[in-house]
């Protein structure tokens, strides 16, 4: 039995990680041969970075991810704080459910419905180019929001309810109390929410595909269009780089949340 469970574990991990390993390996292949390793080289990385399109797409992706993460973090923090202050339990529960729906919704539905909305509103406003960076940004902020809210809420729940009162007692206006006491106390949640939003926006393809305009291309979209012509190993190189950066973000998020947990455990003592 023990042997079986161990084998099962190995199989699962193999299925999960061998494809990624193969992809990384082949990104260092010296020829375009997909079936055989003919020698290791950084040729495809050089190829990748010599194309100006890649840089534009990379810049686009980063600009989008950063702005989407910033905006959704600000709105999400305000929303989480607002929800936590709601007095009626019923209202709290319903707002909570409504914010969670976009998470359950299939991306394709979110993407198509947003595209419809943007085209419709754009048409009403008489815009010639109905889909653009702005629509893409709105879409990304929308699907990142629930994750930001969810990562802040536990910190708010843990916070001693008399902290803001103590701040006001010592002379803070309600606004000062928020920035000087509440925000620093929930900062761990805010930062991990930001990172999560950043990562989600970075690798989104489906929703971006429907909501961006022709002039604004992100990396995932570019990779998709590259595969339509011919699968070249420079896609592998690009994917490898994306995997590495997501991995780094993941490690940072985990370190932060581990630190938060440690601190809250200390507080409880």
């Amino acid at each position: 039995m023990k042997l079986f469970s161990r084998l099962y574990l190995i199989l699962i991990f193999a299925l999960l990680y061998i494809p990624i390993g193969v992809l990384i390996l082949f990104s260092f292949n010296s020829t375009a041969n997909t079936g055989m390793l003919t020698g290791l080289s950084l040729y495809w990385y050089k190829e990748l970075f010599s194309s100006p399109d890649t840089f534009v797409a990379l810049k686009n992706t980063l600009v989008l991810a950063l702005s989407a993460a910033c905006i959704s973090t600000v709105i999400g923090t305000a929303a989480a704080v607002g929800i936590s202050r709601m007095k009626s339990k019923w209202a709290k529960k319903s707002v909570q459910s409504v914010t969670n729906i976009p998470m359950m919704n299939p991306d394709i539905v979110t993407g198509v419905s947003m595209m419809l909305l943007f085209v419709f509103v754009g048409g009403m406003l008489g815009l010639t180019e109905k889909l653009s960076f702005i629509t893409l940004l709105i879409a990304h902020v929308t699907f990142c929001l629930p994750y930001v809210i969810l990562s802040i809420q536990p910190r708010l729940r843990q916070m001693d309810k008399s902290l803001p009162e103590a701040a006001r007692d010592l002379g803070c206006t309600p606004l000062q109390s928020f920035f000087k006491v509440e925000l620093p106390t929930i900062m761990g949640g805010v930062v991990s929410g930001f990172l999560m939003a950043f990562t989600l926006s970075l690798d989104d393809f489906v929703i971006s595909y429907f909501t961006t305009g022709s002039s604004y291309q992100t990396l995932p979209l570019m990779i998709y269009s590259m595969t339509k012509k011919e699968v070249k190993p420079d896609i592998y190189a690009l994917s490898t780089l994306i995997i590495l950066s997501v991995l780094v973000l993941l490690i940072i998020t985990n370190v932060i949340s581990a630190r938060n947990e440690k601190r809250s455990r200390k507080e409880k003592k």
Binding site: D160, S162, L163, E165, A166, A167, R168, D169, L170, G171, C172, T173, Q176, S177, K180, V181, P184, T185, M187, R263, K266, E267
Partner: protein, 372 residues
Amino acid sequence: MKRIIELQNISKAFDGETVLDNISLEIYDGEFITLLGPSGCGKTTTLRLIGGFETADEGNVYFKGKRINDVPAHKRHVNTVFQKYALFPHLNVFENIAFSLRLQKVEKKEIISRVKEILEMVSLKGFEHKNVTLLSGGQQQRVAIARALISHPKVLLLDEPLGALDLKLRKDMQNELKNIQKQTGITFIYVTHDQEEALSMSDRVVVMSDGRIQQIGTPTDIYNEPVNAFVADFIGESNIVDGVMPEDQKVRFAGHTFECVDSGFAPGEAVDVVVRPEDVDVVSPEKGHLKGTVTAVTFKGVHYEIIVDIGGFKWMIQSTDYAAEGDHIGLFIEPEAIHIMKKSEYSGLYGDYSSFSDELEELSDADSVEED
């Protein structure tokens, strides 16, 4: 004495449930006043009204003669020590204490010297750069007090500040708080459900129950002259029996007419009679006013706690003389040991020890702490 805070006919309800019912209270400058009562009596709400965290449904709050109902918490010259301290976890000891001074834009040099001074007062010298989440309960408590006192408030509100500390530390902190209050001359408004704490620290005690003030007075007044059965029972132990006053300075209860020192009741008026357990002398049956059978004896260290059955009513006696279970003993009660109270809604609810057990008492104490 100068009045510093005045509550006038305050009423307050949460979700239709009355928490404060027409409360009026005057608090004088520089006094140590304690709001005492069981959980749910409205004491914490009263404190929060003064601190500006709740608003009264009816009635007025005055600070130095000015109505402050609508003044927000951050503009009141009143600071609070919260029940769970509410120290800011992201700031160290120094920054926690300096918090209000920084808001007031006090000069850096002055902040440093004032924090140093107050840390010495609460005996936390050298703790400036410690992380507040790593301090012990007693140390956190001191930081909370220092933080509330540093901006020299006129009034300090303390909401069961010693509730989370162990007994020994509690006694030490009681003395320290009293000393700090004397040193600074700041008015302390203290909330507790611990009657011993209230009696030992306060200049005046306000006994509350069911959203109403039952009695206001000095600790000795409250203990010796409780106004009704609730106060008599809540403050210390008491035997409360039904009695009748046939004339002034005479009271009849438990089948015997006693001399007493109270007067001013109508002839034949039904009253509640309070006799403190420590004021009863155990004598031989023929010498006593009352005779009864011992049903339980507990050794308490300083004295024995003896439960005596007299005609079906169980009395509690505290005596240094031992009496064994089943003994017939006499009880001797001096006129000064008898206190007469008018009948009230609390008559008959308290003061009988038939169902008394130490364990029960402790259990209910623990409950009330948690509820708060």
